[in-house]
Amino acid sequence: MSAAAVEAAPAAPSGSLIRKIAWHWRYDEKRELWIGWWTLVIFYNLYGVLFFVLARTQPPPEPSLTPAEIVQWFADRHYGLLYGYALVFIVGGATAIMNATLAYTMRRMSVSRAFAYSYLVIYALATLPGMLIMGVVCTVGAMRPDRDPELMSWLYDFAFLSFEGTMGVFLIGSLVWMTAVLLDKNRVFPKWFGYLNLCNALTEVVVAPAWIFKRGVFAWDGAIAWWINMAVFVTYTAVFLSLLRKMILREDFGTGPLPELESESTGALEAAS
């Protein structure tokens, strides 16, 4: 941490969590960044809980259900869907601060502002088809269990296809981030993270068959279109969260290269070379 951050501020208290937070709120120069980082960590976990545990729409059900089974599917998780997505709607806007924080990393790079702005707008757009439409459609499906099964089937398809099948925003978004990281001379992120963005972008290509297949590994619940992609996405997310934390620790609010941390433990491959 830069010396300026601690200047003229009393030492950080070691006491209770609330006192620590109060200290950071008052004196920590990096509080905006930390607000962003904690929002990312808390809300990614919260979304996980809401989608996987409460609404139980992830891992996704089979696309090949019959209309009668779909009605049953909605009935089985009636309150889960309604409460789960209500909470998603309330906290859904948190994505704005998350994406703003990630866009800031690009602004801190030695690249054009265009990268930060395009990332910000692309991911702001992504929230809608990537999350909210599914919530609305599942809510509509769950709120009237006696609806015509054919219409329920349409709602079911639309919910999952909009959620799984929204690809371009994440594809282009990852590529924007990748290009920024690879061009950057301020060492905001290591180059391998740039390449990891490419891996993530490629998984968005692999999702495409979900629009075509109703069963098998390429369907929206399939081993390739869902499970492997999810594994890549979770890795990617975990990686950028920890890299972002490191970046905030290194941040000096300058315009040049970010300083390395004192106790920087270099990557395994680099250490070996």
């Binding site: 395994a268 491959l269 070996a272 070379s273």
Partner: protein, 95 residues
């Protein structure tokens, strides 16, 4: 005009192509029996492919001059791929 390293690369490429042609021979064996599963052909094909992969990584990608860690990681991946491919083939056939 050939430097020693160029010659070495040429031999590697010749070896890789030779294995590929061996795979061609392997794959065209028993036209009539091509519709029955054949564990011997499958195992040979996979093993030959993995040998080629290791050749490419070691020679073309110059991992033989790389630190031990990279050598081990790439070998680990090759082993992992071999085990999962052959393992899922043989276990899958039993199920």
């Amino acid at each position: 005009m050939q430097s020693p390293s160029d010659k070495r690369l040429l031999y590697v490429w010749l070896a890789l192509s030779a294995i590929t042609l061996a795979q061609l021979a392997l794959g065209s064996r028993g036209e009539a029996a091509s519709l029955t599963p054949n564990a011997a052909i499958t195992s040979s094909a996979v093993v030959m492919a993995l040998i080629k992969v290791r050749f490419i990584i070691r020679e073309f990608m110059e991992v033989r001059h790389a630190p031990a860690l990279l050598c081990r990681l790439t070998d680990l991946w090759i082993a992992l791929t071999g085990v999962s491919l052959l393992g899922s083939y043989f276990i899958g056939r039993m199920i």
